[in-house]
């Protein structure tokens, strides 16, 4: 039996992925259905349209599989806790979402996801399904702009999936869907910090260590290294540092630009703290003349009971803004 020092409310720690998946299907209230081993797919799919398939490891709920829905992903392939979905799950999801126009894979930049989705794509191509892939790499602290290929996919996946999902309700070709999804990725940057680790259900062990008096600046959502450790500081100081890192990146942000600003809790950081950070961040954005078209304050990209926050900025051109304003509905993010 594993340790459960985090007092997680679970059954068999080795069955968490399967069980949460079964719960998730129920949470969709009949709007989405289970397919195969561990895929979830919308019931109403627009006929003759290119499909948007998202996915990744479990344990970060509500992402990714909670982002399936109207104006969001058409389906999701779900892995085990912190593990990319295996290729056969990717394939079954691909088959279920495909409506003859091909399938766009949209997921985070992790070796496991890339390899498993790639194998899934090869299997799908063998069955005559065209697949394109757009990889989310919004984490500015994981590599310099010159090495985007090394950047992780983190909080920015929420606006990115939302925009790609909106596009999937409108466009007619896979190329067009891929173009817009790639534009959403190119327009999105995230900086995350962590203050406390989460723990893996099956081992009960925290996934990393962090001293009580430091914050991991730029850490990834599993505790991967960022730009360094800084002393525990105030929300005002932290917000300024996070925005400084965002502004220092290669996404041009000028006066008059419109953005989506997403303040995300990595798990146990309370919304009180998110709101205090938002209060600190907005005047800094305002001072640069950046217009916040939509604010999101929520806990959507998580890592179990990990504490920490991320700021994501998605810059909206007129095409993306129009897509942003479409309604969407999912377990993880809903917009009127």
């Amino acid at each position: 039996m594993s340790k459960n020092s985090a007092k997680k409310i679970i059954n068999d720690p080795l069955k968490c992925a399967d069980e949460l998946f079964e719960g998730l299907v129920l949470a969709y209230d009949g709007k989405a259905k289970r397919v195969g081993k561990r895929s979830i797919v919308m019931n109403d799919l627009r006929p003759g349209a290119p499909a948007l398939l998202i996915g990744g490891g479990a344990g970060h709920e509500p992402i990714y599989h909670g982002l399936v829905g109207k104006g969001m992903g058409d389906g999701a392939a779900v892995g085990d806790i912190f593990a990319a979905p295996p290729p056969d799950i990717v394939l079954e999801a691909t088959q279920a979402v495909n409506r003859g126009k091909g399938v766009l894979y949209l997921y985070g930049n992790y070796a496991g996801d890339i390899m498993n989705f790639d194998i899934g794509a090869e299997l799908a191509e063998e069955e005559g399904i065209t697949v394109k892939t757009v990889i989310i790499n919004d984490d500015v602290c994981s590599a310099p702009p010159s090495e985007k290929g090394k950047r992780r996919g983190v909080g920015g996946l929420v606006p990115i999936v939302k925009l790609a999902g909106a596009a999937a309700t409108r466009v007619d070709t896979l190329d067009e869907l891929a173009r817009i999804a790639q534009k959403a990725v190119d327009s999105t940057r995230t900086v995350g910090v962590s203050t406390k680790p989460g723990s893996i259900p099956a081992t009960g062990e925290p996934t990393f260590e962090l001293a009580d008096d430091v914050i991991g600046l730029g850490m990834g959502i599993h505790g991967e290294k960022g730009v360094g450790l800084i002393p525990m500081c105030t929300a005002d100081e932290l917000a300024a540092k996070m925005l400084e890192l965002l502004f220092g990146d290669d996404l041009e942000l000028n006066a008059g630009d419109e953005i989506v600003f997403f303040v995300n809790s990595l798990g146990s950081t309370h919304m009180m703290e998110l709101l205090i950070l938002l209060r600190a961040a907005r005047p800094i954005l305002d001072a640069k003349g950046i217009k916040v078209h939509q604010t999101i304050v929520d806990s959507i990209v998580t890592c179990q009971e990990m504490a920490g926050v991320s700021f994501s900025i998605t810059k909206l051109d007129s095409e993306l803004k129009e897509l942003w304003d479409l309604p969407c509905e999912s377990v993880g993010y809903t917009k009127l």
């Binding site: 593990a83 295996p86 070796a111 498993n116 194998i119 090394k150 062990e205």
Partner: protein, 209 residues
């Protein structure tokens, strides 16, 4: 000395048990550099392998090894599901037409596994992945073809062990440790540890066989 299909099957069942026992060690290695689940994924894969192999009456080493790879590939997910699934599937296919596993077959197996993994994941030796255990093992196996398979496996396992140790001094370029930079020095790669345990278990089985 060579291993017949059923011996290969029994050997893989021992490998599975060895990895399952090593789960905490493998997860800890991944905790140092990654997200701490490597042992869990490998254990999940090995349980699927056992379910596949236990009732099997295999006709060839290829059949055992490809089934091992398929079971891992479809049950694990994560980086290691794709990587180790490829090891056994690509490696196993290289044994097509061979009735037994001898030291020549071992060399073919490891070489095809290595090429499959490098093609799949784009990593090369020195990038601090399981390749740093697999590549020297494959190299050594080529040198010792002609020896009994037990000796060849022992030599390959030693080479993997040395490669795993050498991975401590490498800076990761792939997988979750790739952004750690120098902070990953001193820790061996988790996947390299899995490769080492697998080859050591195979060598021990072959020696006793």
């Amino acid at each position: 000395m060579e291993l017949n299909p059923n011996q290969v099957r029994l050997m893989m069942l021992q490998v599975a048990d060895a990895i399952i026992v090593a789960e905490p060690k493998l997860s800890q290695a991944d905790r140092d550099l990654g997200d701490g689940d490597h042992g869990l994924g490998m254990k999940r894969g090995m349980e699927a392998v056992k379910a596949q192999l236990e009732p099997m009456e295999p006709a060839s080493p290829e059949q055992v090894l490809v089934a091992t790879g398929t079971a891992m590939m479809t049950s694990m997910g994560g980086a290691s599901g794709a990587i180790f699934g490829t090891v056994y599937r690509a490696g196993g296919k290289a044994l097509a037409g061979r009735a037994t596993l001898d030291s020549e077959g071992l060399a073919l197996f490891l070489q095809a596994a290595l090429e499959g993994v490098m093609k799949r994941g784009g990593a090369k030796p020195g990038d601090k992945t399981m390749i740093d255990a697999l590549a020297p093992a494959a190299e050594k196996a080529k040198e010792v073809t002609g020896q009994p398979v037990a000796d060849a496996l022992a030599a390959a396992a030693d080479a993997a062990e040395a490669g795993k140790e050498a991975s401590k001094d490498m800076i990761a370029q792939f997988g979750r440790a790739k952004t750690l930079g120098e902070a990953c020095l001193g820790f061996p790669d988790a996947g390299a540890l899995s490769v080492t345990i697998m080859l050591q278990t195979m060598a021990a089985f072959a020696k006793a066989a």
